[in-house]
Amino acid sequence: MATFLLLAEYTLIFASVLMLVALGGCYSEHSGVINIGLEGIMVMGALGGALVMNMFPGLSAPLMILAVMAGSMLFGVIYSTLLGFSAIHLKADQTIIGTAMNMLGVALATIIVKTINMQANASNPTSTLQYIAQKKLFLVKLGSFEFNWFMLISLVILAIAYVVMYKTRFGLRLQACGEFPQAAASVGIDVYKMRWSGVLISGLLGGLGGIVYIMAGVSEWKFENGVAGFGFLAMAVMIFGQYRPLRIGVSALLFGFFRALGNVYTGFGFLVALNIPSTLYNMLPYIVCLIVLTFTSKNSRAPKADGIPYEKGQR
């Protein structure tokens, strides 16, 4: 029973990460900008949140949660302007920019953390930040189930995303810009503004997803390792979820489950008895992702103008 609860716990927390980041990607792609840089945005968001925990270790639980969220979102948003500026105004190749952002995020975060560590203690040239005590403020024990506030926050953000996307003027306009920006412009929508909103929201949610990820199951993070392809797993969740918030929520649970299995499989007697090497469990989410995409990409519902730079006069 305890292991099932543990599995549920890990599934929910990893699903929260994937859902947040995939929803971020969803806003950006609906506005017409492909965000391959989600991985880098996650790293920067994780850095922002971890720095807040590092600098203000004495905050009370509600303040800590708010401050960490604010820190990670702020870093994510600032970092996403790199994509917004180049993709919206300079019509740069969004795939190259995203790839560069992923590499830059890891390099920049490593440099910042190493510098901080070395200034605090010259004999500590690592890129690891610890937040053992701070992390406990995010957890609530419900029996043997460790509830993490981020699970609830992610659920709320999912509900908001659904309402925003389908029930508000902003959401419908955003989607118009990703489908046919020239038509949207012809009825007076500012495509540039809409695309900026999409990119910045993806920075906000991607950054938040980053801090949730580095607090899932561990209480320290080595920034040299980045976020292990989670930004790309989130993109797969988004594609499998057909760019719709509710379906993204469901597919995040599926992928979260396979990721969680790698952490807790040792608790299940029958899985241990199968004697599968542990690295195979590490591979599992990526293998599942590849298989799922193989069967779902054919009917992709990607926005029509996704990734195509907007030119005002073009028809």
């Binding site: 790199l82 740069a92 795939t95 190259i96 190493k114 594609i239 090497p277 590849l290 995409l293």
Partner: protein, 367 residues
């Protein structure tokens, strides 16, 4: 005047100027970051990165370090060719790292466990890379799976596969694979006497000419053959190629297989020299494939430009190890190369600005 104008309008010259601009801006931003960390040593550190092998005081040591840079440039050049080849056909081969890792698995396992000669290991690593590339290609061609996402997923799958498979040929008390020189001398790449040029650098050898020949071959295939023409046509418009009677799906798979083969070859060109071992506790995908993306774009997507840009990127990354590591993290070099890739996204914009500037100048001259 007339001659000068046509010179600046030349595609190749513009590509070169854009790349140089990217490099200069990248270095300036790197310098600013160094200033933030510690203003006193910043100038020394950026110079150390730029000088790389020239940091050593003795000429013998300089030659040795230059040799090491070249040994690492060969696989980088092959990875950049892999990215470039796919990109010319409209595919973004971010999976080069995974194809490269597949090559490492096969090359090292073949050498250390099966005791195969080097040429067999090399061919096998090309095949392994090609198979991984072809998987991405087939998924793209038949199931519309984005090659970017399948590439990333395969990168991670192969990373874990490498840790799992190669732990059977690692040192018993260590995480690294067995030393090539001691355990698989038959699989070490021949030096062809090249090592004597670099002060008897034992790792300098056939890999460097192989990479150069590959660059020339890629250039010939893409620009001078029917195959290259068909592949590029498929990349420009898949339906158009189909209408013209080309096998468009096969072309996509073939492209990714060739790209994967180049990345697989890169792996054997590095690991079969014995200069480095695989750590079976590696936690992140090898950066070689990603640096290949940087080199491909910095080289203006030209195979011959890749030769220069690969050397430059490798030069900068190895230069990172010469900075004072008690003050500055060596990742400053990674930072510079990632900023350079970011700027490469603007190359089209740079060229546009350049042409607008020239147009204005011409209009003035006309009056």
């Amino acid at each position: 005047m007339e001659k000068n104008k046509s010179f600046l309008r030349n595609e190749g010259v513009q590509a070169l100027l854009s790349s140089i601009l990217c490099i200069i801006i990248g270095l300036i931003i790197g310098y600013i970051v160094l200033l933030f960390i510690n203003p006193q040593g910043a100038s020394g550190a950026i110079l150390a990165i730029i000088k790389n092998w020239a940091n050593s005081s003795r000429s013998t040591l300089q030659l040795k370090n230059l040799g090491s840079t070249l040994v690492n440039t060969a696989p980088l050049l092959l990875c950049s060719l892999s990215v470039l080849f796919a990109y010319k056909v409209g595919l973004f081969n971010i999976g080069a790292s995974g194809q490269y890792t597949a090559g490492i698995i096969v090359a090292l396992y073949g050498a250390l466990a099966l005791h195969l000669p080097w040429i067999v290991c090399m061919v096998l690593s090309i095949i392994a890379g090609a198979i991984v590339g072809a998987i991405s290609g087939a998924l793209k061609a038949y199931q519309n799976v984005s090659e970017v996402i399948s590439g990333i997923m395969l990168n991670w799958i192969l990373l874990y596969a490498a840790n799992m498979i190669l732990s059977s040929v690692k040192e018993p008390s260590d995480i690294y694979t067995l030393k090539m020189a001691k355990n698989a001398p038959q699989a070490i790449l021949p030096t062809l006497g090249l090592n004597s040029i670099f002060n008897n650098h034992q790792y300098v050898g056939i890999a460097i000419p192989i990479a150069l020949i590959a660059a020339i071959l890629v250039w010939i295939i893409l620009d001078k053959t029917k195959l290259g023409y068909e592949l590029k046509a498929t990349g420009l418009n898949k339906n158009g190629a189909k209408y013209a009677g080309m096998k468009e799906n096969q072309n996509i798979i073939l492209t990714m297989a060739i790209a994967g083969g180049l990345a697989g070859l890169a792996a054997s060109c590095l690991y079969l020299t014995g200069i480095t071992e695989w750590s079976c506790a590696t936690a992140s995908v090898p950066g070689m494939g990603f640096n290949g993306i940087a080199a491909a774009f910095l080289g203006g997507l030209n195979p011959l430009g890749s030769i220069l840009s690969s050397y430059f990127i490798q030069h900068i990354s190895m230069g990172g190890s010469f900075v004072d590591l008690s003050i500055y993290p060596s990742q400053v070099a990674d930072l510079i190369s990632s900023i350079i890739i970011y700027l490469c996204g603007f190359v089209a914009f740079f060229k546009l600005m350049m042409n607008q500037f020239l147009d204005k100048k011409d209009a003035k001259g006309g009056k």
